[in-house]
Symmetry: C2
DNA sequence: GGGTCAACCAAGCAAGCGCTAGTGTAAATG
DNA sequence: CATTTACACTAGCGCTTGCTTGGTTGACCC
């Protein structure tokens, strides 16, 4: 078994698992289906993962870590105005949601299938990400760009963005960046400069 | 078997099933668990429902029909100003989400477990509900209350509201009506009169 | 008072489930 | 060369799953 998540083979298996979990749901995805998709027999799966739950945890961990990295980079790359930071965060959020779509859909839909230790560990990762959002919202509130309660606004915004996985069509005419900007337009009072 | 959904016994079974589906998820809820919760043996379940999927469809149908009724009533009860209608719709949405919470959580999380015919039927119900929202958003846009694209705004708003099932605490200090009003404040330009 | 019918039960089948045990093998390591 | 390691295989155990079958019960009806 391979405890490190860094093994390249394991990374690839995790990616394939994410796709199957999205298509079928975690419970309906059998270890035999996973193995076939990976081109091995079902028994061999347990050389890479302790059990089925660990595959789920690996999928979600990948996605959440990527989201954190992308958001932090985006924030560090833009100037410090509240408006810029708000745009950058919204764009980063949708970029992750799109490029790592499978992993995030799994995280949103199958969170409750995690056992308690995995949930605790991944919960911290998620909290770190969400507190990034709350900082950005705080700045926007202080700048008078947005009105309302800090907690509520960040929840509403994340809800609106996460909901996009249910209707967004990557082959459509709108880019994720346009989507993000439209959301910012909707919630901001004054014309916002990028 | 009882094809009508109106049988009182069936209604009660549907309510209990919704609760279990929320607690455990559809796939992990066995017919034996359902039967026990209902105080009967697992075989007897199939006197009321053709199969397990039909129970899921019944749960979602209940919730969606209720949502439609509540929203229509709310809209017919308020005056015709864009602002009033926006407030009324948001409040109705959260009221349904709260009082019929189990059914709606199931609808949001387990939609993909429906077979294709059930999905087609319930899809129409959902579309009817969503077009109510789009009308209200249209009015708000025309009145200059909200800025942006009609399709995007309605999606963002529904996303923000539906996301509440993941974090809202009914025992907390905020009422659903306050939540709805806060959302309207966030997305509207001018001070909105109720 | 025979007939009807919804509601339930006991028993179990066939299929599928996650996972384990034991083995083979080719490449890396000392 | 001997040993270890990574990865895969075969075979199947023990259990649970959704659902079926055949039969019983009691309330209601002409």
């Amino acid at each position: 078994m391979n405890v490190m998540n860094a093994s390249p083979r394991r990374k690839e298996l995790t990616r394939l698992a994410a796709q199957l979990f999205v298509q079928e749901g975690f419970d309906r995805t059998t270890v035999r289906m996973l193995a076939q998709e990976m081109g091995i027999k079902s028994g061999s799966l347990f050389h890479h993962f302790r059990d089925k739950q660990e595959i789920l945890a690996a999928v979600i961990e990948e996605g959440t870590e990527n989201a954190l990295v992308i958001a932090k980079e985006a924030l560090s790359r833009c100037d410090s105005s509240a408006s810029s930071r708000l745009h950058a965060m919204a764009r980063a959020h949708l970029e992750t949601l799109l490029t790592d779509r499978n992993a995030h859909v799994v995280a949103l839909y199958e969170w409750r299938r995690l056992d308690s230790e995995a949930r605790a560990h991944l919960g911290h990762l998620r909290d770190a990400y969400e507190s990034l959002w709350e900082e950005v919202i705080d700045d926007a509130l202080a700048a008078g760009l947005v009105h309302g309660d800090r907690f509520l606004v960040s929840r509403f915004v994340m809800g609106a963005l996460n909901w996009t996985v249910r209707w967004y069509d990557p082959d459509g005419t709108r880019t994720p960046d346009e989507l993000a900007d439209e959301l910012v337009v909707m919630i901001t009072r004054s014309a916002s400069t990028r």
